[in-house]
């Protein structure tokens, strides 16, 4: 599958398919279902300085073309993550990106400093956009984004991605602040804040009222943000995430400008999806006599590709 290799200044990925932070947890459960050779990188579930129990049930509410989630960053906390989970992650036959979140820059810097001494972590992703823990989303304020990125960058030289919200705040200004402070790439977008009300009783279905919408419903939102970001930052590594569940939407995301495509909802629905996508993408490239997936990346900014 040489045609699927993505070579950028930041990473070489075996395929452009990245397991987005969240539904893949720490990658272990998927070993039963998935051939990791089809995965360019695993992004871990977000790890926080202290353990988080997550939100009460219900955590998932069905929506037309998607799901509203309220997981609440359930995770064992950074220390336990490093002691109990990290070594198995480092054994996975793919690139590994560790996702971190904290309330304050110095907390995330402390975690980054500890990871700096561990070989085999290919990059970090700073989650500044979880809609399910705080009322204020950090990633929507460029000044705060800059302070978080600087704090991490001062502790670690590894590739650093910043995951920003797609539905709140000035995206380009936040991305600009992140890149100026030393981030190497952008992950766009997180799930989109949404609400559902139980029509029988007139009350929100989630305890925290709102949750994060993911799935095909947010594909056009993610495509628009990736497209805008690619136009603003022609050389920056971008992981486009949001609603990709089939080869067609994968190609859309690449053409919008994503170097790699995050799969979140899609992996929940079908843990084998990366295998289907890799095979489908390889076949699609061959049909069009395209030598590499890199010919597809950003094609929407260049007038598209030649249709055979």
């Amino acid at each position: 599958m040489a045609a699927l290799t993505v070579r950028t200044a930041l990473f070489e990925l075996a395929t452009p398919i990245v397991l987005a932070s969240g539904p893949a947890a720490f990658g272990q459960e998927l070993l039963e279902a998935l051939d990791y050779a089809t995965v360019g990188a695993l992004t871990t579930k977000t790890v926080t300085p202290r353990p988080l129990p997550g939100n009460p049930q219900p955590r998932l509410v069905d929506c037309p073309c998607g799901v509203l989630n309220s997981i609440g960053l359930e995770n064992p906390g950074f220390d336990r993550f490093v002691e109990a989970s990290l070594s198995a992650i480092l054994d996975l036959p793919t690139r590994r990106i560790v996702s971190l979140a904290a309330e304050r820059p110095e907390e995330v810097a402390r975690m980054a400093a500890r990871l700096a001494g561990i070989e085999g972590i290919d990059g970090l992703e700073l989650n500044l956009s979880c809609p399910n823990v705080d009322d204020v989303v950090i990633g929507s304020d460029p000044t705060i984004v800059g302070s978080f990125v600087r704090a991490v960058r001062s502790e670690i030289e590894r590739p650093l991605l910043v995951k920003l919200p797609g539905d709140t705040g000035p995206l380009i200004a936040s991305a600009d602040a992140a890149l100026a402070a030393g981030a190497n790439g952008l992950t766009l977008i997180n799930s989109v804040r949404g609400l559902r009300i139980d029509h029988r009783v007139g009350r929100p279905m989630l305890h925290r009222k709102t949750g994060g919408l993911s799935g095909p419903a947010i594909l056009p939102v993610a495509l628009a943000r990736v497209y805008e970001a690619r136009r603003a930052f022609p050389e920056t590594f971008i992981v486009g995430t949001g609603g990709v569940t089939d080869v067609e939407s994968l190609i859309e995301m690449l053409a919008a400008g994503a170097d790699a495509v995050g799969i979140g909802y899609g992996i929940m629905a079908n843990p084998r999806l990366p295998m289907d996508l890799a095979a489908g993408l390889a076949g699609w490239l061959a049909e069009r006599r395209l030598a590499s997936v890199e010919d597809v990346i950003g094609a929407a900014h260049r007038g598209g590709f030649v249709v055979p």
């Binding site: 049930q57 799935g215 089939d246």
Partner: protein, 256 residues
């Protein structure tokens, strides 16, 4: 008698899980509000054991699949017992035979691996919660003292003519009332059904040993990865899909 030590790791080991992207609805018996359905083309499903579930959606649908407890298995076939509400379940009740579905599984810890094997049990089910209990009864009759299956209305009667179902509309009795009639000290309980039924079981029997409940939530992945079904238990956070679905009643705070 001691409750057996809880397993932390799930038995759905590599190699035992199947993915059937092209299963076919081949047979159906409909009752009022419920149906028994058979799907074929599900190689690997024979490894499914009582208490385990499959994830299913219509072929080609981008929707999250839904979890269904297995009622029975045959060569390349799986049988389900479904309540006909919700889009997918109504589809199972009305779609023409030959309709294709995507199935994967089996997931979850089999009941036999969770319960104390040194006892006999009253199996108490409500609605489609009967499915895993009927499967357990078929496979391990030696573990079963009584089978108590409750329904609001009589719609499931025709589907299980050999069974004496507890139909509230005609008998003014609920499954929990029948349970009180048949349970005696020394017997365990395995409950699967709507939350009010499980709460009644919990309220009356939570201090007895070997009382277990099968829990439900909207599952996301079904494999323990997305944490959509995590719940607090006496032993910390657990995933219904991977650590359950069966839990000791004493582990569940809202049943204490």
């Amino acid at each position: 008698m001691e409750t057996r030590t809880k397993r932390r790791t799930a038995p759905t080991r590599s190699g035992s899980v199947f993915s059937a992207p092209n299963a076919t609805l081949v047979e159906r018996q409909r009752g009022e509000g419920y149906a028994r359905v058979w799907l074929a083309g599900v190689d690997g499903v024979r490894s499914a054991r009582p208490g385990q579930f499959i994830m299913m959606r219509r072929l080609g649908s981008p929707a999250l699949p839904r979890a269904f407890s297995v009622l029975g298995v045959g060569p390349g076939r799986v049988e389900l017992f479904v309540k006909l509400d919700g889009l997918l379940r109504e589809l199972l009740g009305s779609a023409p035979l030959g309709t294709r579905f995507e199935l994967r599984g089996p997931y979850g810890v089999p009941y036999e691996e969770r319960i104390d094997p040194g006892r006999r049990y009253v199996l108490v089910g409500g609605g489609s919660g009967a499915a895993p209990l009927l499967f357990l009864h078929e496979r391990r009759p030696d573990l079963v003292s009584d089978l108590v299956l409750g329904f609001r209305h009589g719609g499931a009667d025709d589907l299980f003519p050999a069974l004496d179902l507890v139909v509230e509309a005609t008998s003014c009795q609920r499954a929990s009332d029948r349970l009180a009639d048949v349970w005696r000290p020394g017997l365990g309980i395995v409950g699967c059904g709507p939350e009010p039924m499980l709460r009644t079981v919990g309220a009356r029997y939570r201090d007895e040993p070997a009382v277990y409940v099968s829990l439900e939530a909207r599952l996301g992945c079904g494999i323990g990865s997305c944490l959509g079904c995590s719940i607090p238990t006496a032993h910390g956070t657990r995933r219904i899909c991977r650590d359950g679905p069966l839990f000791a009643c004493s582990e569940i705070p809202w049943l204490r």
